[in-house]
Structures are given as structure tokens and as C-alpha cells.
Amino acid sequence: MILTTVNDSTSPNFLTGYRDAHLVQGVIKQIHQRITQPWTIMEICGGQTHAIMQYGLDQLLPAEIELVHGPGCPVCVTSLELIDQALWIAQQPDVIFTTFGDMLRVPGSNGDLFSVRAAGAQVRVVYSPMDAVKIAQENPDKQVVFFAIGFETTAPANAMSVLQAEKIGLENFSILPANVLVPPAMHAILSSPENRIQGFLAAGHVCAVMGYWEYPPIAEKYQIPITVTGFEPLDLLNGILHTVIMLEEGRTEVENAYTRVVSYEGNQSAQQLINRVFQTVDRNWRGIGAIPKSGYGLHEAYKHYDASMKFHSTGIQTEESPLCIAGQVLQGLKKPYECPAFGTQCTPQSPLGAPMVSSEGACAAYYRFGRKTK
């Protein structure tokens, strides 16, 4: 049922302007003019890490700025236990296992979803969790499972898939809940005795959903400035400039450099949707360990959509590669090129750890964009 229609396709200045070379140079100049001492800034989101490398922004910044890459790569931090559960569920008879494409090559204790598919399992890549619901509708004689990974950005879509399955009355649909949350990870990083982060770029699309009301207490508790930052070159540099100015002025506030998408309150309909379906649970982060209240699990009322209960897939013994230093990379303690396996035993074609797999992993970014030494 079409309700209303409009037809017009253009790429307006308010989008393309955020890649304008002249403006980029202007902001870089400002950063050079404002900075007087070294600062270590973490961009939490892996998408931002890749954009920084892709546009070579790290090479345009003053030497005083060290960008440290955060754990904001869901593919990288999804625990080995959950990957192994996914591999086990995908191999059960009459299961269609659906997932975002990034997850296929993530190494489990024994193989990955690619190898499981090659051995005959039905593993299908979907663009949206809603597509997994459609697959369940079209295959009533199969059990369709969706691997519900992601940060707060993906949580509304994951929640919607459960509600949609309930609305249609599907009994052959379930999700493997693996959502993780940004603020608890920031607490974990900042309270580590090894922490050296002095400023944060908060992930713009997480904040599109959640707003940034959760961040002022973090800024105050750890005395650290935080800037909500977008993904285009100009957005990233503007976020860095805001953070540098706050650092230089000794301010520990939260500023928004992505106002065209993010408001303080965030999208409240989306937050209601998340809270209806999910509750916060403790979650293991790959390479980092357990972080309290750092994930979304299903509410009691929706537990029958939990694939790990439906398939009794918990309690698998896991085994991590002894060479991989992903945990230290994800916490900003080491750079990818400091790993002895980087680019030799560990490459995107044959990854030992998840950060070498994902289109957002720091190791993959360093490999792809040629940051092979300091």
C-alpha cells in the first residue's frame, strides 16, 4: 500500500560538502594552529578508523596528535563463545543461518562460517535483520536464525526483527543475541590502569539512536572531553578539532560535531523499541573480557526467540589463537604493526583474529591502507 510519493534524485551540497578539499584544509590548519602539546585521542568506532586511514587524515594531522583505535567493531568484539555457538547452530539439520557478511570469515575455535557453508551448511548473508524474517516466512519447514551482532546502532533493527516475527506469528525464527554497548566499554577502557586516552570521538551513529545523554557523567568522572563525531572527512576533522580545543582549554565537556544527525536525547522511538525487546546483560568482549551490563539480551517475554536456548548451544569449549594480540589492539594499547603475526601469518585472506577480518577492524585498516610500520 503506497501512502505518498515524491520523485527527485540529486546529491545536494549539504552531503558532498563534507568532502570538500578546501574546507578539509581549513580545519586541518585550525588544528595545527590550536595545538600546543601532544594529545592521545581515541575514535571508538571502527568505521571511523577506516575512514581516517582511507582519506589519509592521520597523515595530515599534527605529529602531536596520536589517534588510538577503539573497540567499536562489533565483528571484532563478538566473543569466541558466540562465534562458536553460531558455527554449531549453523551446522544443525534444517537450519538456515543468516548473518551480516562481515561475520563469515571471523575465526572461531575451529573454522568459520565460510568453512561451515562450504561443508554444506545453509549460511545466508542478509543486508538487514528484516530480510532474515522474510527468509523464515518463505521457509516454514526450516529454522531460521539471525546472528544479532552490532552496537546500539544495530539494536533497533535487531529488535524490530523479533517484533516482526511475533506480529506475523513465526515460530521458526530466532536470533543469537550478541549486541554490545559503547558506554560500558568506555568505562572499561578509562578505568584500566594502562589507560592513556585523553579525549574521545564518540561514534556518530550510535548517538543517532541513543543521543549523548549517557556521556556527560563519563566526561566528568574521568575528566575527559568527548565529541560526537560523524564519518565524512570533514566530520572527523571537525570532531578532532573540537576535542583538541577542549583539551587545550582544559575543558572536560561533551560536544556534538554531528548535529545534522544527532540530538542530545537521540531517537526516543528507537530507544523504546530496544527497551521493549532487550534488557542489558553482562557480556564477554573478544580480546577484552567480561564487561558488566555491556550487552543486550532478550527480555523474558521474548526468550523463546533466543537461538542459544532453542538449540541449547551454550557451554562450548573455546580456543583462541595464541599469537593474536587483538585484545591489546582493541583497547588501544598496541598498534596492529606491533603484532609479530601482522601481515605474515595473519592477513585478511587468512586471519588469526577478528580485527583482521572486518571492514572495520583496525588490523584490516592498517593492512589495506599500507600502515605497516610506525
Partner: protein, 85 residues
Amino acid sequence: MCLGIPGKIISIYEEHGTRMANIDFGGVSREACVEVVPEAKPGDWTIVHAGFALNLLSEEEAQETLEILSEMARLAEQDDLDHGE
């Protein structure tokens, strides 16, 4: 993973009681769920992630930020000239 693509809403419809939209991404049209942006209407810009509209994109805010940054670029150049670079 948290990739969000800006697109322009072409039309809005319902599927199983859920608000969906056809969205134009620079010439490519795809469907996305607009359930959590109840104020969305055709012609609006939105940020879509995993087939799900996260929020509307404010053209005014986008333009305003660009103007501030343009002014900043102008001042930075002026500063360079004043210092004889």
C-alpha cells in the same frame, strides 16, 4: 558495521503493519524500515543502517555546520596571510 548511508525518502508504505519506505541512495532505490521515524515523509533525508532508518537528517543543521567550517577556513587563511606565509 555502524555504516549509515544518507538517502532520500521516495515513498512510504506499510507491510505487516510496519512502516516501510522506498529510499533513493544517489540513484539506487532500496526499501528500509521507518518505524522509529514516525515524522518521516517523502522528500525527507534519512540515515539508513542495515535496512533501518535511524533518524532524519537535518538539511539546515548540515548547511549551518558547513557555513561555520567555511568561515573557519577563511579565518585560517587570513591568519596565514597575516603571518606572511
